[in-house]
């Protein structure tokens, strides 16, 4: 019961505590307007180059944009504590680390889902793409799974925040890597072999592919493997992030770097 309360109630409260600065003045331009610009940019580049369809760019960029809230916000769940000097206080509580930190991922995933879903709906409406009504629920599920797997990658970055301060810089690089490697704007088949190979280990890659196929009218059953792969990759990053948290917390106590690194 205690673990469940820390996971759900604590997760939500910590989100309010760490992201109280996220007013509509920041939220709307960052999570709702910016992805539309990104979508329009790549749609028009694609049209002028005559390579892929509008749908390809709208789905790729809308899903990729969930990486902004998911990676940056999850990472900030540790970096923000350090900034407010509350990290020592929460780490000296007896709260289990699994519910304490994983609980923080729920609102983050919700944020990512909202950003991606809005970008897909608004971006799609602006450029005029058609998605079969029968695919909408399945695409929504893909967005949830993709947001969760990106949040898991954010947990790895959050854990690194116990050792280094510069996680925001790291997150910018990760965001760029996802943009280039995961088939967001260039099909994996057109990327060099080593890049598409690496992309198989990143979140987003399988989710974007699944969403594109669903939007093109394929059945949910035919993309089950892609969704499963996206979920599995997310679970692997979540496990890695949790183990890193434990290791780096211990190391921080040993090296006295919890508050100073």
């Amino acid at each position: 019961m205690t673990g469940a309360r820390i996971f759900f109630v604590g997760g939500l409260m910590s989100y309010r505590a760490l992201f109280g600065w996220l007013s509509p003045w920041i939220f709307i331009p960052t999570f709702l307007v910016a992805p539309i610009f990104q979508i329009l940019l790549f749609v028009y580049i694609g049209r002028s180059a005559g390579v892929e369809s509008d749908k390809f760019y709208v789905i790729g960029n809308a899903l990729q944009y969930c990486a902004i809230p998911c990676i940056f916000a999850m990472s900030n769940t540790i970096a923000g504590e350090r900034y407010q000097k509350t990290l020592g206080y929460i780490l000296a509580t007896p709260a289990g680390r699994l519910p304490l930190f994983l609980g923080r991922s729920l609102p983050v995933i919700g944020n990512g889902v909202f950003a991606s879903a809005f970008a897909l709906s608004a971006g799609g409406a602006i450029v005029g793409i058609h998605v079969p009504a029968s695919s909408i629920a399945s695409i929504a599920l893909v967005i949830v799974v993709t947001s969760a797997s990106c949040t898991s990658l954010g947990l790895v970055s959050a854990a690194l925040g116990l050792r280094v301060r510069e996680t925001a810089t790291l997150n910018n690089i990760v965001f760029g890597l996802l943009l280039v490697f995961c088939g967001v704007n260039v099909p994996l088949s057109e990327l060099p072999g080593w890049m598409s190979f690496i992309a198989q280990g990143f979140p987003l890659t399988h989710g974007i592919e699944a969403a594109r196929r669903l939007a093109n009218g394929q059945s949910f059953g035919s993309v089950g493997g892609l969704i499963g792969a996206e979920a599995l990759i997310g679970a692997a990053y979540a496990l890695l992030g949790y183990q890193l948290l434990r290791l780096l917390e211990w190391q921080g106590r040993r090296l006295a770097t919890l508050e100073t690194a």
């Binding site: 205690t2 505590a17 109280g20 780490l91 000296a92 007896p94 106590r253 006295a256 919890l258």
Partner: protein
């Protein structure tokens, strides 16, 4: 070491070394011994003071006791539990308060700060509301609890820190300079709160720079300097160290370093400390009881503007100064 009833906190030969690096291209590693073999015990229900100058090792000692730092060597036990091996169990049984304004969620209200930590300390949901209300009453924040912490004064933040530290009703509480920077009225209220913790039977370790605070609150005191305990006992025991001394307070304005050095070396002077009070520097000169030094000192201060001069009995602060000076 003074024997104590049923030790709740047991510290044995505790050491903590930090390694820091300097330089960008030619990095040089420097090892700093913050705590050098500290041992002490705190009995059940005791209010124990740990006094020492900045950088003496007080906070490092507390951080080891609250499981935030792993000792380089030595052992520390709280309620019989090892702070390294049984860290999670220790955390359930302790509360701690660090002085200063940071360490609270600025965008949350005091109520939400307490609610969040109530979850982390596994306070049962049914008990949370009445306990938080009682604590808000105790620390004098009732009526302001729904305001965001970012609008709180330093004193209010400190009181909120205390409420958070005892939210889960821990039997052992660590208070690291809880009154630092708080105005006199606020500090007095905080001292009353600290005293009430001891009256409620809690075991308290308090660090402070304010000697009168330690004198009025603590059952026993340890003085720590440069990572080592240089004295331990009741406030009366420590005061007895300077019982054979007398103190002359001389208010000066713009005294030169060389003059202070000359006074320090004057025959009969045991120690000198300086307190800055607005524009004045107040010299606290300790000498053997019965030795009349005032005229000699004033003669040596010729050319320096001198204000009020008074002789008095030594206080705990004088004992502290003598101990720290001796160890320097």
């Amino acid at each position: 070491m003074t024997p104590v009833p049923r030790a709740v906190v047991e510290v044995r030969d505790l050491r903590r070394t930090y390694r820091t690096s300097t330089g960008v291209f030619r990095r040089r590693s420097v090892e700093i011994e913050a705590v050098r073999g500290v041992s002490f015990e705190i009995g059940e229900g005791e209010l124990f003071g740990l006094l020492g100058p900045n950088g003496a090792g007080k906070t490092t000692t507390i951080k080891m006791l609250i499981t935030l730092l792993i000792p380089t060597s030595g052992t520390a036990r709280v309620l019989g539990l090892d702070v390294v091996k049984d860290s999670r169990e220790v955390r359930k049984r302790i509360g701690y308060v660090f002085g200063g304004e940071r360490g609270l969620y600025e965008r949350l209200s005091a109520l939400d700060n307490l609610r969040y930590f109530a979850e982390l300390y596994a306070v049962p949901p049914r008990e949370q509301k009445p306990r938080i209300e009682a604590l808000l009453e105790l620390v004098g924040l009732k009526g302001r609890e729904k305001e965001r912490v970012e609008g709180y004064s330093r004193g209010m933040r400190q009181r909120l820190h205390i409420a958070r530290g005892i939210l889960h009703d821990p039997p052992v509480v660590f208070l690291d300079e809880p009154t630092i920077g708080v105005d006199p009225v606020g500090a007095r209220e905080l001292r009353a709160t600290i005293a009430s913790l001891a009256e409620a039977g809690k075991t308290v370790l308090l660090t402070t720079h304010y000697m009168f605070e330690a004198d009025s609150l603590c059952d026993r005191i340890a003085v720590i300097n440069k990572g080592e305990i240089v004295a331990e006992g009741t406030p009366r025991d420590l005061k007895s160290i300077v019982a054979d001394k007398t103190v002359v307070e001389i208010e000066t304005f713009g005294i030169a370093e060389e003059t202070i050095e000359k006074l320090r070396n004057a025959p009969g002077v045991a120690s000198i400390s300086i307190e800055e009070r607005d524009q004045a520097q107040v010299l606290l000169v300790q000498s053997a009881k019965g030795l009349e030094l005032t005229q000699t000192l004033l003669a040596m201060l010729e050319g320096t503007t001198v204000g009020r001069v008074a002789a008095r009995e030594p206080t705990l602060e004088d004992a502290y100064v003598a101990l720290v000076d001796t160890a320097a």
